[in-house]
Amino acid sequence: MSVLVAAERSRGHGAGRSVLRPWLPRKVAPYLFVLPFVAMFVAFSVYPMLFTLRLSFTDWRGSGAAQWVGWDNYAYLLGNEMFWGSLGNSAMLWLMIVPVQVVVGLLVAVLLNNAKLRMRSFYRIAFLVPFVTPLVAVAQIWVVVFDQNYGAVNGLLNLVGLPDVGWLTTSEFAKPTLALLFLWKTTGFIVIILLSGLQSIDASVYEAASIDGASRSRQLRSITVPLARRTLMFSVVLQTLAVFQMFAEPFVVTDGGPYNSTTTAGLHLYEHITRGDLGTGAANSFLLVIVVMGLSLVFVRLLRTED
């Protein structure tokens, strides 16, 4: 509608202008259009990237002259227990989060993909509520709900006669509790992504399969999973990036404790900054990039070669 109106309007006074040279030549226009992006990109992405790279080979505490130390920062990190520990914590969290999320997410998406399902839009809203609420707010709610002495979760356990659990105060439970927060917060988003993959599958494929007598679970295995593989792969890569960069959740909920059991790779990186050890922090950034990109490539490869 508005297009027609717009076109009509430009026709009105266009007749006289078309013979004149346009004020913005067609060859120049695209450069002007990308200019704001390029300017900000160079200022706030390219320049900082190159700066980090240089910084990672120096010893610098934020003031004075930076001292060139070659590969020392990298060597220090690669031999450092805390660095490996933080990667290990992130890997453990990944194991607790991503497989669960893919299975539950796919199950929910398949159920929601049924047009005859009652209360479909209620479910879509309900599952997305944690995703749209501010992370800091929900992380705080987590702190209160999972409190060992006064929390609602232990209150529920006591109701059925179970003892208190130190959800955030013991190193065995802190990680799963954090993983649960992440699962709760982001599974709705994954459901929507997987749903988009399912909706791109033609309904006639399923109709043909049910006429041939294929059971629901058989259909899930033989049709849904293979055809939705692209979307599955996308969500696995997305969540891998997110888990290894996880920062705000442990920062607010556990501050990395108890006994560093929830010091994620992202939080560890931040600790270098707060200590003012910027050279090591920069080197840690790049090691983390290498890990994350490597993992992403592995998953892309794994999920693709099965075709």
Binding site: S2, V3, R11, L24, F33, P134, Q140, T231, V252, I273
Partner: protein
């Protein structure tokens, strides 16, 4: 959607057999949905309970004892009004930049051939893959060098022209028929006029999705604001919130656990309600926004 009128008898039989599974899936979805809503609902309700009751009886609800004390104390204790104001300023400025300049760049990438285009778009793709955390240290130093620490510029400009937004809008604009643009050109429309008068109106549904997603991201953004603008005057809503939580995890000396918990739930409630309302009101745009943005990944 699909019409399923005259179905063969065999399929109808299969549907009847599927009835118990349908009930099962309803029960499963309902339980899961309640579990997803419970923490937020619990916080919204508990914020109105007397602070001591929140911790002595976290599951109970005494309707006669409901109070606004937690809110009153929280407002007195932390600069949450200032936090809202700062978030609003950043939201308007950064949101406007993203929603205008990302489609503009995307338009050039989608509809023009020019030397350097592929190189520039390659940069967009690389930015998409880079963990944002890598840029935090150097960006902070850059902000220090510019004297921008604890300023609105620092909160608004970095990340304002988001690579994901460009990537997504390029897909959307590529689907706008060239004939439409050429017709406007023949009629004498300038290159920029084509963008504002043809492209933007045509892609309005996707723009709405982008707007909702952008608002959500900016409103919830935490890492960059806490690093670059944590002073009391510049703290955004999320940063103000995080200081309250640290009073608990960091064992603020002398802080009464019940009081802080009450304040915390009040603050969390007040922070999540605006976004929740926006989300429920614009739910369709939002979901379509995510769907349209993610399939291409």
């Amino acid at each position: 959607m699909t019409t399923r009128t005259a179905r063969p008898a065999r399929i109808r039989a299969a549907t009847t057999r599927a009835l118990p599974t349908a009930l099962g899936s309803q029960a499963f979805l309902l339980l899961l949905a309640l579990a997803f809503l419970a923490p937020v609902a619990w916080a919204l309700i508990s914020a109105f309970k007397p602070a001591t009751q929140i911790i002595s009886d976290p599951l109970g609800l005494d309707l006669t004892a409901l109070t606004l004390d937690n809110y009153r104390r929280m407002f007195a204790d932390v600069p949450i009004g200032q936090g809202f104001l700062n978030t609003a300023v950043v939201l308007v400025a950064k949101g406007a930049i993203t929603i205008f300049f990302a489609p503009l760049a995307a338009y050039a990438f989608a509809k023009y051939r020019f030397p350097g285009r592929d190189l520039l778009f390659g940069m967009v793709l690389i930015t998409l893959m880079l963990p944002t955390i890598v840029l935090i240290i150097p960006l902070l130093l850059e902000m220090k060098a510019l004297g921008w620490v604890n300023t609105y510029q620092a909160l608004v400009l970095p990340g304002a022209v988001d690579a994901f937004a460009i990537f997504w809008m390029r897909q959307v604009i590529a689907d706008v028929p060239d004939e439409l643009l050429d017709a406007a050109r023949v009629d004498g429309a300038g290159e920029f006029g084509i963008f504002t008068r043809i492209v933007l109106p045509v892609i309005r549904p996707a723009l709405a999705g982008l707007a909702v997603l952008t608002v959500m991201n900016i409103y919830n953004d935490f890492v960059w604001p806490v690093v670059v603008a944590s002073s009391e005057r510049m703290a955004t809503l999320q940063v103000v919130l995080s200081t309250l939580a640290q009073n608990i995890t960091g064992n603020r000396i002398g802080a009464d656990y019940a009081t802080v918990t009450g304040e915390l739930l009040a603050a969390a409630s007040i922070a999540l309600v605006p976004l929740l309302l926006v989300f429920v009101a614009l739910q369709r745009h939002f979901i379509n926004g995510i769907l349209a943005g993610s399939v291409k990944g």
